[in-house]
C-alpha cells in the first residue's frame, strides 16, 4: 500500500469514528451492510474509470451506460424471457463494444476522450429513454429470478454480494494494474505516450484496452444496479454516476493528466464517498446538501494532499542537499 492510500484510509477511519461517536447507528450491522453494498456497486465501475484516467482520458458515459444496459437487461429477461446468464453475457459484450468504440475513436480518429464520452453520455441516455418510451423498466408483480437475485443482491455471512464482487474485481485488477506487463504499459503510456511508442509499446492497443476494461466493469455494475433498484426509470437511473467514479479516482490519488493512481486508491475513494453519503443521512444533515458535502470534502482532500506532497518534496530536497 502506498503512503497516499494509507492517508486516505486514515481519513476514512477518522470520519467513520466521528460519525460513529455522534450516531452509534453507523456501526449497526444493517447500516454497515447497506454501506458495503453501495461501496460495492460504485466501486466496481470506479475501478474501470481509474484505468481510463491513467491513460490521461476520461469516461463520462458511465451513468448512461448503467441506465442503458440496465434497461436492456431487465427487458431481455422479463419481457423476452431470455435466460439470465445469456443476457448477462450479452450485457458484458455490450460493455466491450462500447469501450471498443470509445477507445478506437480516441486512438484511431484522434478525438478527445472528453468529447467522445460526452457524446456517449448523451447518446446512451437518449437510446435508453427511447427504448422504453420513457417508461420505467422493472420486474412485474410475481416475476422472480431467485438465483440471480441471490447472486446480485444476496449476502453471505452478512456481507452483500456486490461488495464481495468488488473485492474479487479489486484483487484481479490490482494484479493487472500493478504486476502485469499491461499495467506497466498503461502507466508508461499515461506518463509519456510518445516515449512509450518509441519503446515499442503498442500505445493504441493499450488505450483501447483501458476503455474496454471500463466498459466491462461498468456493464457488471449496471446489472448489480438493475437488480438492486429493481426498477429503472431511464431518464434518471445512474445520473451523475460518472462523476462519482471520477471523484473516487481523484480522491484515490489519480491525476487527470494520466499516469498516476492505484487500485487501492480508487477503491478507498469509493469507500469515502459512500461513508460521506452515510454521514449526511445519519447526522441529520439535509439531504439536499449531499453533493455540497461531497464536493467540499473532495476539494479539501485534494488540496491538503497536494500541499502536503509539496511540503514533503521540499523537505526531501533539503535533506538531500
Amino acid at each position: 500500500m502506498q503512503k497516499k492510500d494509507l492517508g486516505l484510509l486514515v481519513l476514512i477511519l477518522a470520519v467513520g469514528a466521528i460519525v460513529a461517536i455522534i450516531n452509534p447507528r453507523f456501526l449497526s450491522p444493517i447500516n454497515l451492510a447497506n454501506t458495503a453494498n453501495l461501496v460495492g456497486l460504485f466501486g466496481i465501475f470506479a475501478i474501470g474509470q481509474g484505468f481510463v484516467i491513467i491513460t490521461g482520458g476520461i469516461e463520462l458515459s458511465v451513468g448512461s451506460v448503467i441506465a442503458l444496459l440496465g434497461v436492456l437487461f431487465i427487458d431481455l429477461i422479463v419481457t423476452h424471457a431470455m435466460p439470465w446468464p445469456f443476457a448477462f453475457l450479452l450485457m458484458l459484450a455490450g460493455g466491450v463494444l462500447i469501450g471498443l468504440a470509445h477507445g478506437l475513436l480516441v486512438t484511431r480518429m484522434n478525438m478527445q476522450p472528453f468529447i467522445v464520452t460526452l457524446c456517449g453520455l448523451l447518446i446512451y441516455r437518449g437510446v435508453a429513454r427511447f427504448y422504453t418510451a420513457d417508461a420505467t423498466a422493472g420486474f412485474g408483480f410475481g416475476v422472480s429470478f431467485p438465483t440471480l437475485e441471490w447472486l446480485a443482491t444476496g449476502r453471505s455471512f452478512g456481507v452483500p454480494h456486490s461488495f464481495l464482487a468488488m473485492l474479487a474485481i479489486t484483487a484481479v485488477m490490482w494484479v493487472v494494474l500493478h504486476r502485469s506487463v499491461y499495467g506497466r504499459h498503461l502507466y508508461a503510456v499515461g506518463k509519456n505516450e510518445e516515449a512509450a511508442r518509441y519503446s515499442g509499446v503498442p500505445t493504441g492497443r493499450v488505450i483501447v484496452t483501458a476503455y474496454v476494461i471500463c466498459g466491462v466493469l461498468t456493464a457488471i455494475a449496471a446489472i448489480f444496479f438493475a437488480m438492486y433498484t429493481r426498477s429503472i426509470s431511464p431518464a434518471s437511473h445512474g445520473g451523475f454516476y460518472e462523476l462519482y467514479a471520477i471523484a473516487a479516482a481523484v480522491l484515490g490519488g489519480f491525476s487527470l493528466r494520466g499516469g498516476e493512481g492505484s487500485i487501492i486508491g480508487v477503491v478507498l475513494g469509493a469507500v469515502l464517498l459512500q461513508v460521506l453519503q452515510n454521514l449526511v443521512n445519519l447526522l441529520g444533515i439535509p439531504s439536499s446538501l449531499n453533493f455540497a458535502v461531497m464536493g467540499s470534502v473532495i476539494l479539501i482532500g485534494v488540496l491538503v494532499d497536494q500541499q502536503f506532497g509539496e511540503y514533503r518534496r521540499r523537505r526531501a530536497a533539503q535533506q538531500r542537499q
Binding site: V175, R179, A188, G200, P202, Q321
Partner: protein, 500 residues
C-alpha cells in the same frame, strides 16, 4: 575598452551541502561578447540566475553602474538592462511574433475599455525586427516560425526592453549552420550597437568565433579567463575538464562487413519526391549529416515506423522489413535513439529500471506478470555496464543529468539484441565527459557487429565518429564521403546542395 557597467565581485552561492559558486568575478563592458563555458554542473546556470535576479548570492557584491548591492531581484535585473534568450524558448506559440515581443507590456488604447492597441503594437515591433534582419513578418504566428526565427523574436523582445546585456543560453544548439552564421552576425551587430552579450555554449567553435573574452567555470570556480588571442577550443576544453582530452574518438577495430541496414527509395510525407538510398554495413558507423530540415529525422522516424514510409523498402540483414510501428521495428532488431530525449527517449517519471525494461517487458514476464527481480537485476547490470551515475535503479529518470538520461536510452537497446541502431543527435546537450563515454559506446557497439546510423548536426562529431558520412539535402542524399575525404568544407558543400 570602455568601463564595465556591470560587475559581479567575488560571488559565492552555497546551497545546503553544495557550493554552486565560489568566488566568481565577472565584469561586463558595453559592446562586449563574453563566452561562458563549462561542463554541465560547473555553475553556469547558477551564475546566470544570480545575474537575472532569480537566485540571491550567499556572498559577494553586484555592482551596476557603480552602485553596489548584495543581490538583485528579477525586476531590478530587468531595470539594469539584463535580458535572457533561453535555451528552451519561452514563447507563446499561439500568438504572433509582435505580440510575443510585447507580452505583458501591450500598448493599450485610450478610453475606459483599455483594449490592446494593435496598431501601435505593430508599429513598435516593426523596427525591432527590421534591425535584426528578420525574414518573417512580425504578424507571423510563432507556431509557424523556425527555431532560429523564434530566437530572433526573443532577441527582439530583449531589444524592446532596451537591454544592455543579452544572455544567450545554448542559442545555436538547434540551429543549422547558415542559421548559426546569421545569429553570429546578429550578435556582431548588437555588439557594434553597444549591447553586451554573454554567450553560453557547448559549441566551442562558435564560442571561439564570436567571443571577445571567454570565462571557463569548473566546479563552481572560475578556472580561466581567456583573452581574445588565447581563445581556442583546445584551450577551453583543457580548462573545462582540467586535462587534455586526447583522442576522443577511437578508430574501428575491423573493416566493415556486409550491408546490414539498407534503405532503398525511402520516401516520407515531408519529402515525397526523391527516394533515399542508404546502406549501413556491419560494424560501421555511418554519419548522416545535413542541415536541419534536410529530412534526416523524418527519415529515421519513418524507418523506425513512427510515421511509416510512403514508399521504398527497408532491409535488415538481407530481409525486407514490414514495419508499421516501432513495435515491429524493435521486434526485428532495428532500434532508434530519438533526438528528443525527454519527450520520446525516456519516461521521466518512471524509474530507471522501468525505462530500461519497457521495450522487453514480455521477455521479463511469466504469464503476463512482470518478474520484478529479473527487471531490477537487468537494470543494475546495464547501469553498471554503461556507468549510469544514479543512487539506484529505482530513482526516476527525470532526476538524472542529460548524459545519464541518454545512457538510460542506450541501456534500453543494448540489453536487447540490436542488429542496427539509428542514433538521432546522440550527444545534444550533453557535457564533454559524457559525450566521450557515448562515443566510446558507439564504437564498441559497432565493433560488436552492429550497424550504426548516426544523425548529427555537430560537425566535429560527424567527422570524428563516422566511418563514412552520407550528407542529406532537401530529402535526398547529395553525396557520401569516405574517411580520407572528410572535411567540414566537403560536408558543408554537400549539405547546401552541391552534388558530388
Amino acid at each position: 575598452m570602455t568601463e564595465p557597467f556591470l560587475e559581479l565581485l567575488n560571488i559565492g552561492k552555497r546551497y545546503p551541502g553544495v557550493v554552486a559558486l565560489d568566488d566568481v568575478s565577472l565584469s561586463v563592458a558595453p559592446g562586449e561578447v563574453i563566452g561562458l563555458v563549462g561542463e554541465n554542473g560547473a555553475g553556469k546556470s547558477t551564475l546566470m540566475k544570480v545575474l537575472g535576479g532569480v537566485e540571491q548570492p550567499s556572498v559577494g557584491t553586484i555592482r551596476v553602474d557603480g552602485m553596489d548591492r548584495a543581490a538583485m531581484t528579477v525586476a531590478e535585473a530587468i531595470a539594469a538592462g539584463i535580458a535572457f534568450v533561453h535555451q528552451e524558448l519561452n514563447l507563446f506559440e499561439n500568438l504572433d511574433a509582435a505580440a510575443n515581443v510585447f507580452i505583458g507590456r501591450e500598448p493599450l488604447t485610450a478610453g475606459p475599455l483599455r483594449l490592446v492597441d494593435l496598431a501601435r503594437l505593430a508599429a513598435a515591433a516593426a523596427p525591432l525586427f527590421e534591425r535584426l534582419g528578420a525574414d518573417f513578418s512580425p504578424a507571423a504566428p510563432v507556431a509557424s516560425l523556425s527555431i532560429a526565427q523564434r530566437q530572433l523574436v526573443e532577441i527582439a523582445k530583449a531589444l524592446s526592453l532596451d537591454s544592455r546585456l543579452v544572455i544567450m543560453d545554448e542559442p545555436t544548439s538547434s540551429l543549422t549552420l547558415t542559421e548559426t552564421d546569421r545569429l553570429l552576425a546578429v550578435i556582431g551587430d548588437l555588439r557594434a550597437a553597444g549591447v553586451s552579450i554573454i554567450f553560453i555554449s557547448h559549441r566551442l567553435n562558435e564560442v571561439t568565433a564570436c567571443s571577445d573574452r571567454v570565462m571557463v567555470l569548473r566546479d563552481g570556480r572560475k578556472v580561466a579567463e581567456l583573452a581574445k588571442a588565447e581563445i581556442s577550443p583546445e584551450a577551453m576544453v583543457r580548462h573545462m575538464i582540467g586535462r587534455d582530452l586526447k583522442s576522443v574518438y577511437r578508430p574501428p577495430q575491423a573493416a566493415p562487413g556486409a550491408p546490414i541496414l539498407e534503405i532503398r527509395g525511402a520516401r516520407t510525407p515531408a519529402h515525397p519526391d526523391p527516394g533515399v538510398d542508404i546502406a549501413v554495413r556491419r560494424g560501421e558507423i555511418l554519419g548522416l549529416a545535413g542541415l536541419i530540415g534536410a529530412g534526416r529525422t523524418e527519415l529515421a522516424r519513418a524507418v523506425f515506423g513512427i510515421e511509416p514510409l510512403t514508399g521504398g523498402i527497408v532491409r535488415l540483414d538481407g530481409r525486407d522489413l514490414a514495419i508499421g510501428s516501432p513495435h515491429d521495428a524493435i521486434a526485428q532488431g532495428l532500434y532508434l535513439v530519438p533526438e528528443d530525449r525527454k519527450g520520446c527517449g525516456v519516461v521521466l517519471d518512471l524509474a530507471i529500471a522501468q525505462n530500461i525494461s519497457l521495450p522487453r517487458l514480455a521477455d521479463l514476464a511469466h504469464r503476463g506478470l512482470v518478474d520484478r527481480a529479473a527487471e531490477t537485476a537487468l537494470a543494475e547490470d546495464q547501469a553498471e555496464r554503461l556507468r549510469i551515475r544514479a543512487p539506484g535503479v529505482d530513482v526516476p529518470v527525470g532526476s538524472l543529468s542529460g548524459g545519464n538520461q541518454q545512457k538510460v536510452v542506450l541501456a534500453k537497446w543494448l540489453s536487447m539484441s540490436p542488429k542496427a541502431i539509428i542514433f538521432d543527435e546522440p550527444t545534444r546537450g550533453i557535457d564533454v565527459g559524457a559525450k566521450r563515454e557515448i562515443y566510446d559506446m558507439l564504437r564498441a557497439l559497432a565493433d560488436s557487429g552492429v550497424a550504426i546510423l548516426m544523425i548529427s548536426s555537430d560537425m566535429e562529431e560527424v567527422i570524428g565518429v563516422s566511418d563514412r558520412i552520407a550528407v542529406m539535402h532537401e530529402g535526398r542524399i547529395s553525396g557520401t564521403l569516405a574517411r580520407p575525404a572528410f572535411s567540414e568544407a566537403a560536408v558543408l558543400r554537400l549539405a547546401v546542395g552541391h552534388l558530388q
